[in-house]
């Protein structure tokens, strides 16, 4: 049979982000494939070297478009580690609220993303509407919907607005009340289950071979491998939550875990709102001009648990006002590049979009 070349993306309703999957197909079976991530700005890392530590605060959220807060958190944690800054307690709680809200929003987006390549558009609209409510909350908190620039080294930019707790509780109650409805619409829906059950497998050996982390890893190895549990940052050791795991990783299982994580995140946010003390939310980064803020020499790698796995910043300072080198460890790097090259072949063309969605591939963090 003749081999054909097909593109999935960058302009394709089933593709998430500005990458393109090049597929060589025979019939409708993919025989070879690779990802071309070079569709984005490329040059964040170079750009960060050319801006001062403070200026970079405006640049870093752009590294992952749909989930910007993890970038701010990893950068802030790295800078604090280098400079030896102690963050006030209230700031930790606020950061956790922001990160968990962001986790719900990105899981909702991924869940809705399942709807578009399977033709289940109701799911997509509902999930995106809920994400929108979260963006409204972010707008109230930080003034921005997508790129908040809210978590800064030393704490958070400003305190929560008065009365935001009421809005957050209202949203969480609303989402929780419709949780079973969501499951029925998506992963309990027989038409969709037939499509995503027992397909797009991710065995444990592949997890270790590629270095997949996050939901993909936990769905295959059946252990609570979550950075929030194994090496707690912020105050994750003071809240109670479970890490949903499984030992059979098909597409449905990974989506199921994402939905279960949403429930856990709701619980975490409620605990944060209840436990949060009053007090300062930020310590000054430096004495005098912040533009001349210098960090002591050192190499540090700071990680957070993103919705796709271990997301880290490798930061090198030579003692100057500018970073010497900043490297970003994108959580979807292993499955996005090597995974698509090695394990996408053998599936069908229409599985490719589902593969990319359920594995959680975010192209900007590959092409940073």
């Amino acid at each position: 049979m003749r081999e054909l070349k097909l593109f999935l993306g960058p302009q394709h309703p089933g593709m998430h982000g500005n990458a393109s999957v090049h597929m060589f197909v025979e019939g409708d079976i993919i025989v070879r494939s690779y990802l071309l991530p070079g569709m984005l700005h490329r040059g964040f890392e170079k750009g960060m070297e050319r801006h001062s530590w403070v200026n970079n605060l405006a640049l870093i959220p752009r590294v992952c478009v749909v989930e910007p807060d993890i970038n701010e958190m990893a950068y802030a944690m790295g800078a604090e580690k280098l400079a030896g800054i102690e963050v006030p307690e209230r700031a930790h709680w606020i950061r956790m609220i922001i990160l968990e809200l962001a986790r719900i929003s990105i899981h909702m987006m991924a869940y809705g993303g399942l709807g578009s390549p399977t033709g289940n558009y109701t799911l997509m609209y509902h999930a995106h509407a809920d994400r929108n409510s979260i963006l409204d909350i972010f707008e109230q908190i930080s003034g921005h919907r997508i790129y908040h620039q809210y978590i800064v080294p030393g704490g958070v930019r400003k305190d929560l607005p008065v009365g935001i707790e009421k809005d957050i509780h209202a949203f969480l109650d609303d989402l929780e009340s419709r949780y079973t409805e969501y499951r029925d619409l998506g992963i309990e829906n027989p038409t969709l289950v037939k499509r995503i059950k027992d397909t797009i497998m991710l065995p444990e050996s592949v997890v270790w071979e590629l270095g997949v982390t996050g939901v993909g890893m936990r769905s295959a190895v059946n252990k609570e491998y979550d950075i929030r549990k194994v090496m707690p940052y912020a105050l994750y050791d003071q809240v109670e939550f479970e890490v949903p795991v499984s030992d059979y990783s098909d597409a449905r299982c990974r989506v199921d875990i994402k939905l279960k994580e949403v429930v856990q995140s709701i619980g975490i946010i409620r605990q944060c709102l209840a436990k949060m003390p009053e007090g300062p939310v930020r310590v000054p980064m430096a004495q005098g001009q912040s533009m001349r803020w210098t960090l002591p020499k050192g190499h540090v790698y700071s990680v957070v648990e993103s919705s796709r796995g271990e997301f880290g910043y490798y930061m090198v300072s030579n003692g100057g006002t500018h970073p010497y080198r900043i490297g970003v460890r994108g959580a979807s790097y292993p499955q996005g590049l090597l995974g698509i090259e090695k394990y996408l072949p053998g599936t069908r063309i229409d599985d490719a979009a589902l593969w990319v969605d359920t594995m959680g591939v975010c192209s900007p963090e590959i092409d940073r």
């Binding site: 991530p37 170079k46 071979e209 252990k223 194994v230 990680v303 490798y314 460890r329 590049l337």
Partner: protein, 195 residues
């Protein structure tokens, strides 16, 4: 799970068997070792056997003043949560570092990226010279410190002339001139400082 023990365990494990130039304990979850180039593969495979079987990050740093590249390998163990940084210096004029693909297969694309961004060669990695994100790149690898993006863009792209004349709309007088004057004044104040 006692994480301080993990750091001590790593420290004794590595310092006993390998020649370590510098050890730095960053916190209870992170430790870094600076080793010689020849030790890297042995050290990484030993760490993998001990459970540090996830390659979290691989990249390079350009120390242009010392004419050296510094390779960075970060491995992680989920059961004994410590990030181990392994760093080694290589020559900047002829940057060659043997691939670690036999140990961590997931390094394939990291090495490819390091080749593209720094020009480091990785014998043992079959694809390392293929282009990854830079299409039709014709200059030195861009993450090297002596690469100047501004000079590259000046050389590569034509200078664009901007037209500042605006048409008068609906008989209303254009305020463009006033705006330009104001911008000029602001710029002058910016240069000499507000008195």
């Amino acid at each position: 799970m006692n994480s301080t023990n993990n750091v001590d365990f790593l420290k004794s494990l590595v310092e006993e068997k390998y020649k370590v130039n510098k050890t730095e304990v960053i916190d209870q979850y992170q430790i870094s070792f600076e080793v010689e180039q020849v030790e890297v593969h042995r050290l990484l495979s030993e760490l993998k056997l001990e459970g540090w079987k996830q390659l979290s990050y691989l990249s390079a740093i350009d120390w242009i003043d010392e004419n050296e590249f510094e390779m960075v390998y970060i491995v992680f163990n989920w059961d004994r949560p410590v990030h181990v940084q392994i760093r080694t210096r290589i020559d900047r004029d002829k940057p060659v570092m043997n691939s670690i693909m036999p140990i961590f297969e997931g390094c394939k694309y990291y090495e490819r990226e390091a080749h593209e961004m720094f020009g480091i060669k990785f014998p043992g990695n079959p694809d390392h010279e293929k282009q990854l994100v830079l299409e039709e790149w014709d200059d030195m690898p861009p993450l090297r410190k002596d690469f100047d993006p501004q000079a590259y863009s000046d050389r590569k792209f034509p200078v664009r002339e901007y037209n500042n004349d605006f048409v008068e709309l609906n008989g209303k007088k254009s305020k463009q001139k006033d705006r330009l004057k104001r911008a000029e004044r602001i710029e002058q104040v910016g240069k000499r400082g507000n008195k």
